[in-house]
Subunit: 125 residues, 2 copies
């Protein structure tokens, strides 16, 4: 294994940058069967409700946020993680100190393989 396959959560320069929403930026790391996205949310930043067929897991690494999924809001603290089945409408709202979130997609979200902005999907599945 070469050094090139090693990354770090606090130095994301090797990832493909993407602005998901105002105050929410991410870096994308694509594999063959899954994809990681390490998203930094500024304090009180809000995503937009969206859905996609790919399964998603989220891991809250730092900060706090409100997770919205299928119309239910849950407060999350660092260390919490959750699953989003394909097709479930979801978004997040960061807390007062912002948040760092590791998102995992399987299979990879094709639209995130190219530079761009936004969540790549309309507000419903």
């Amino acid at each position: 294994m070469s050094e090139a396959t090693f990354f770090n959560l606090h130095d994301l320069s090797q990832g493909l940058p993407r602005e998901l929403a105002e105050g929410i930026t991410t870096r994308i790391f694509a594999g063959d069967m899954s994809m990681l996205s390490v998203a930094r949310l500024e304090p009180h930043a809000s995503g937009t409700l969206h859905a996609h067929p790919e399964e998603q897991w989220g891991v809250l690494l730092e900060g706090t946020l409100i997770r919205v999924q299928d119309g239910v809001e849950v407060e999350a603290k660092a260390g919490d993680f959750w699953r989003t089945p394909g097709g479930a409408a979801h978004t997040v709202r960061a807390g007062a100190s912002g948040a760092l979130v590791l998102d995992i997609f399987a299979p990879p979200r094709e639209i995130y393989l190219s530079p761009g902005a936004g969540f790549g999907t309309p507000e419903s599945a």
Copy 2:
């Protein structure tokens, strides 16, 4: 979304327990298209070299370890993450303070859906 789809890295009671090797225990959280495994490694615990067709990512959440993949050893510190393509032989050796590792498999490793022990594969792919 019900509370039941929320988990925490430091309270893994909802995951399926598995002993991967002496001093390496994990909890499995299975999705439809991917699977998370949160592994606790005791100080200096060693895995055994193994391989599987599923893609894997590892995220070192706490501690230090030596990552062995395709015969190359890399020292990892907290925050490092890495990708293991399907079929690549790999293992880890924990450092002096042990380690907490989030492993991600896509697709899910079927053998980890059932209670058991070990990495579930022979030493070569």
